[in-house]
Symmetry: none
Subunit: 211 residues, 4 copies
């Protein structure tokens, strides 16, 4: 994902410089990382609801203005922090076998979700209906990339003749994602390789291969 993914206006994005001209003291780029790290720290410790800007600022030994100069709100900070982490954490295996590709990808993604990003994602779910821009960013940087990888893996299998052409690709892709998120957020059973292998063997592959 590399399009604008956050709810913040462009002039607040981290990479861009302050407006006007190049005069004045430039932004200390190292503060960005420190602040994101502090936000992640606090988010993982107390959750989204209890995360306060003062706590993040204190954790990073920064002033609140330094945060608000970069992000418009608590939500924006959290979104951007998560996006940054999702970036390039999604591998796309291509070994010429749908079974192997799916297994490898889903296992890697499940492991990734077990970490702080998964916690953060869960923290944001409740906000989605009331924060359209957050919802857009969440879907664009969190759901779509994973969905697209799955779809491409399957489509490569079809073009190789490994998968029958009329397989219910959309449904399989959706249920794969749904199964992971359900485990991650709602059920307290573990989201581990065993689980991934089970749904792969008992659901995804049969749906793709059986007539």
């Amino acid at each position: 994902m590399n399009a604008p993914t956050s709810s913040a206006p462009d002039e607040k994005r981290t990479v861009s410089r302050h407006p006007g001209s190049g005069r004045g003291r430039p932004r200390d780029a190292s503060r960005d990382a420190a602040l994101r790290e502090a936000a992640m720290e606090v988010l993982a410790q107390v959750g989204y609801r209890a995360l306060t800007m003062d706590a993040v600022a204190a954790q990073a030994r920064a002033g609140k203005a330094t945060i608000y100069r970069r992000w418009e709100s608590k939500l924006d900070l959290v979104i951007d922090t998560c996006n940054q982490l999702v970036q390039r954490n999604i591998p796309e295996p291509d070994h010429g076998s749908v079974e192997r590709d799916l297994g490898e990808f889903l296992t890697a993604f499940a492991t990734f979700l077990t970490g702080p990003v998964g916690k953060a994602a869960q923290a944001l779910v409740g906000e989605l209906p009331h924060e359209p821009e957050l919802a857009a960013a969440f879907r664009e940087s969190f759901l779509l990339p994973q969905r697209d990888v799955l779809r491409r893996i399957i489509e490569r299998g079809i073009s190789r003749g490994e998968i029958r052409p009329d397989a219910p690709v959309d449904t399989v892709v959706e249920l794969a994602g749904a199964g992971l998120m359900y485990r991650l957020m709602l059920v307290d059973d573990p989201l581990d390789a065993r689980f991934v292998n089970r749904i792969l063997r008992e659901a995804l592959l049969p749906l793709l291969k059986n007539p």
Copy 2:
């Protein structure tokens, strides 16, 4: 749900009386309903984040103390309100056909989720990791009943010989629930009968019936 499912200590539960004895003015049971109704109203209007105790109290023309006498927190109020609504809102069809039973149940449940209870459920997801009692109540009164209905429908199909005995029941049940929740909370595609019919036709039934 039939065990104590909420995060509130017993002496705060609506039904139970205050500890000492039967002395003093008893709680006005009609306020319980009024407060839950008000909470649901406000929850549907502004969402969980923006729901304030003041707003609920005002909506119900009650004092805040009257709320806090019954529920320990905003969370506790919302949980209990939802539990009350989930009760007996889950039908269990039994027409002698797995296809018809599943379709009927999933459609009814999807419709139910589209209402305020679904919104409330989504609002609570982010709290689950930090509120163990909420998580327990959520699973016991929200996830388990639905899961159990699905399982019983399928098992009746097996005992009738309609479904092969070695069908992956757990996986199907889990993916059915996961699919619904995924649509409800994460994706912005509608959770409607079309969707239910699609996953039924393209995933659930094939997994149950095909060898």
Copy 3:
């Protein structure tokens, strides 16, 4: 003073019975004293501002309704409690000597003021401008009786020829009362016999006797 001195309507006065007829359980007269005593206790301990009806009720092991059945408000309770105490606590000496009468009376009254009634009186001062009925009761039962005793002592002196007829009676009476209250409420020097004797010797008697 024995006229209605409080702000409460007659049917709430302690002595009167409940309306209608004589049927039903009569008021327990012993609760009156218990409640007044409890009020005095709490008033002396925490002052008027911090006195709560719940505290008085708890102190007397009574219900709040039992208080409100007798007095209309916190203010009314406190007023009546004080009035009850002031009643007949003001002696009026008459030994045929203004000096001796004044000394005896002022010393006795100063001692009386040093007790709980004085504390209560001080607690009420701040309310006087905003509570006309309290102010009336306060003056009628607290200030006037004392003032009248002083005036009668002096007038007996005049009629005996002990005091010159054109003595500034009003001014002396007022300054005597003012001196006592000033010491009691505003200054932290003690309101004792030494003080009484000093103002008597250095101010009151000279003003009455010197030409």
Copy 4:
């Protein structure tokens, strides 16, 4: 009054800065005046009892935190507000005549007491026994300055030979103050020039001049 006279700890005093260092945004000194003015406004309108912090904050268009940052309590706010007003509102006439000086001073002070400061002072009387620091501040900034002016006026009269050297100065000073406060707070007769002139003519001057 020039020493620390209020019940507030030093770090809350308006003038002093926050402890750590000179960093951070300094207190907006203009808010002090606005808040004191608002407090005086509300105090004059509804009295001390009914004065609420919310009302003061609303009147000054300030947040409650801004008040509590400066004063620890309602009491503390009112005390400080009054102290500020008492400052330099006590003139000290010196015309070479005790009669003229006393008359001028007492009339001016009586007029001053008739205003909001007098109301506030009365409001505080009931708190004095339970708030030692308030009592100290009250006496130091309210009673002592006035007492000292009176004493100096009389002592100048003695040194001029206008007043006999063995006049009961303490008693006269105390009764002058007592008379004013008694009228102000307890009696409902007016504290006006007529009254001042009467006690001057009938009590204070005779006590000072007559042998």
